[in-house]
């Protein structure tokens, strides 16, 4: 089974205090820690495990600026033998459909039985996988938390509300968006990164992909972010201040009063 996994480099929202830059055109980009989108690590791990069981290959593809090389190498160090970078100024400002359009061209440059994405990324859209499937005219399943290969088709589990699992059979080639918890992504150490440091990663631009530059990017986007803002909060929480001892003492009083200490 030959598998393509789409990975996005994002500001790590668990590591950063995200704030809005003056004017609201962007978030403050100074001192941001970037990482591979959490969901995508699970997608890469799943691809590697499938190939360990069934044979085949794993290719990791990322779309962005030249910084994505770090992300692609990190995922290759997990055990994906090939990487692919899609970089072109004309891609900047693409909406979800633009991103999916560019990824579609990358899928069609190769020959894959399975395309994996993360369930969602930093802007919480959860859209690229489903759009990519529709553009390719492949079947699709989102929020996948189990994959078993069964001949030409897959038996997959989808996570639904309340943590129940919906079992489906899906034909290949197909696109699946992977949910966290499906596996335990392996640890990547410095040694692993060093091992793939000199592997050549092809960089494709719009021309090399055969993508019409006018069909993607900011100008073609039907959906645009106008600005970032911090909503005028309601009352919000009453914030306790003081030394650790003082704060703890206030909390004890509060919890006692509310019946939280039994």
């Amino acid at each position: 089974m030959d598998i393509l996994v789409c990975v996005k480099r994002v500001p790590d929202s668990a590591e950063n205090e995200i704030s809005v830059a003056a004017g609201g055109a962007d978030i403050s980009r100074e001192d941001l820690v970037y990482a591979v989108n959490e969901w995508d690590n699970y997608a890469v791990e799943e691809a590697i495990q499938i190939v360990e069981r069934e044979g085949g290959s794993v290719t990791v593809v990322a779309l962005g600026d030249s910084e994505i090389e770090e992300s692609v190498r990190r995922e290759m160090a997990m055990g994906a033998e090939q990487g692919l970078m899609l970089v072109d100024g004309a891609f900047t400002g693409s909406d979800g459909l633009g991103v999916a359009t560019i990824l579609k061209a990358a899928v069609q440059k190769g020959s894959y039985d399975l395309v994996l994405t993360g369930a969602q990324a930093d802007d919480g859209a959860a859209q690229v996988g489903g759009m990519l499937a529709a553009l390719l005219d492949y079947p699709y399943a989102s929020l996948v938390n189990r994959v078993e290969v069964a001949g030409k088709s897959l038996r997959i589990g989808r996570e639904i509300e309340g943590g129940s699992q919906e079992l489906n059979e899906i034909d290949t080639p197909c696109v699946l968006s992977i949910q966290t918890g499906i596996n335990e992504p392996r640890y990547v150490g410095l040694r692993g990164i060093r091992k793939v440091a000199s592997v050549e990663i092809p960089v494709l631009d719009a021309a090399a992909l055969g993508v019409d530059a006018a069909a993607v990017g900011q100008a073609a986007a039907k959906v645009r972010r106008v600005d970032y803002f911090v909503p005028v909060a309601g009352a919000g929480a009453e914030m306790l201040t003081g030394s650790t001892k003082e704060v703890a003492a206030q909390l004890v009083e509060l919890l006692k009063a509310k019946g939280g200490i039994n």
Binding site: P11, N16, E184, L240, L255
Partner: protein, 323 residues
């Protein structure tokens, strides 16, 4: 903008989901004066009950009653809607696991713009639909606009719109024949119910909930000790379960348990909507987080900006002394 607005109604067990009236409110807020059409898909006599219920709120209901639609498989619903909806339609979905499955591909097939997980609306100007979304796990909000001149698929976060008051004498149009002979390359097999855990956190009055901010598995002992001192039960956010540090049965949220405690202590939890979606009954929430901008402080009554590693031992010690 002369738009035809459609809302896909989630339902189960012969009853419409709360999302039905929320979608109606969203439709009326975004397109004042519009006459939205409800789309009700399913199988058997219970679908008739849903259609009748929904017709008390929507002026028109399109009912698709087919065996193949007994379970909502997005891979069947997408081609059906692509076939029956008029060009340029606005399709409203709930940002549920079905909406996530259906919406992105539907927008592509309809040639429409897609606005996912919308939490508020900001008006319509010509063919531009302006909405509010959240990014970075709710740390910042964004105004987003979509060019809906070729149609729009828009999904709303459950609970972000109040239910509209139902006051229509709508007509139910039977469109079942349109849904005959649907096939898909993804076939639904069955639903496996979530397993019950070692404790039932849904019945506890005092919950100490731990999130990724605890850092390492070994640090969980600090949380256990605090919970023990309080006489409370430990639950958690999703990353703790994903890492297999705690049982799935202890996860609070839309894909975990729905809890109704009196007191909820949120430790190192950012406050993603999927987590808060599992908290019902307006508990007294106390949040501890090192990030003063964490969205959990919007939901909490009392907040502390602190490092758990420092605060937890001190708090446990003081509680033990106070008892």
């Amino acid at each position: 903008m002369a738009t035809q607005v459609f809302a896909l109604i989630p339902h189960a067990g012969g009853k419409a989901d709360d999302a039905a009236l929320e979608l109606l409110n969203a439709a009326q807020t975004l397109f004042p004066g519009c006459a939205p059409t409800a789309l009700v898909l399913g199988s058997g006599p219970s679908l008739g009950a849903v259609a009748t219920e929904v017709a008390a709120a929507f002026p028109e209901v399109w009912s698709f009653n087919q065996e193949s639609l007994a379970y909502p498989n997005a891979e069947l619903i997408r081609p059906l809607l692509t076939k029956v909806l008029p060009a340029g339609a606005v399709v409203m979905l709930s940002h549920s696991t079905l909406g996530i499955d259906l919406g992105p591909g539907l927008s592509v097939k309809l040639g429409a713009a897609y606005l996912p997980d919308v939490v508020g609306v900001d008006g319509v100007e010509g063919s531009l639909v302006k909405v509010v979304r959240q990014e970075f796990a709710g740390q910042v909000s964004a105004h987003v606009q979509a060019d809906a001149s070729k149609g729009l698929v828009i999904s709303f976060r459950p609970g972000s719109f109040a239910p509209a008051t139902a006051s229509a004498a709508g007509t139910v149009v039977d469109k079942s024949a349109e849904a005959a002979g649907l096939t898909a390359r993804r076939r639904f097999l069955e639903v496996v119910q979530a397993e019950a855990g070692d404790v039932d956190i849904t019945r506890e009055d005092v919950l100490v909930s731990v999130g990724r901010g605890i850092g390492e598995q070994d640090n969980l002992s600090l949380v256990d000790e605090l919970a023990e001192a309080m006489g409370a039960t430990v639950c958690c956010s999703r990353p703790i379960v994903d890492a297999k540090w705690l049982d799935k049965g202890r996860q609070v949220g839309t894909s975990g348990q729905t809890v109704k405690p009196k007191i909820y202590l949120a430790l190192g939890i950012s406050g993603a909507f999927q987590h808060l979606g599992g908290l019902k009954g307006s508990p007294f929430i106390v949040a501890v987080n090192k990030n003063p901008k964490a969205p959990i402080f919007q939901a909490a009554q009392v907040g502390v900006v602190a490092d758990l590693m420092e605060l937890l031992p001190e708090l446990t010690e003081q509680i033990q002394k106070a008892k």
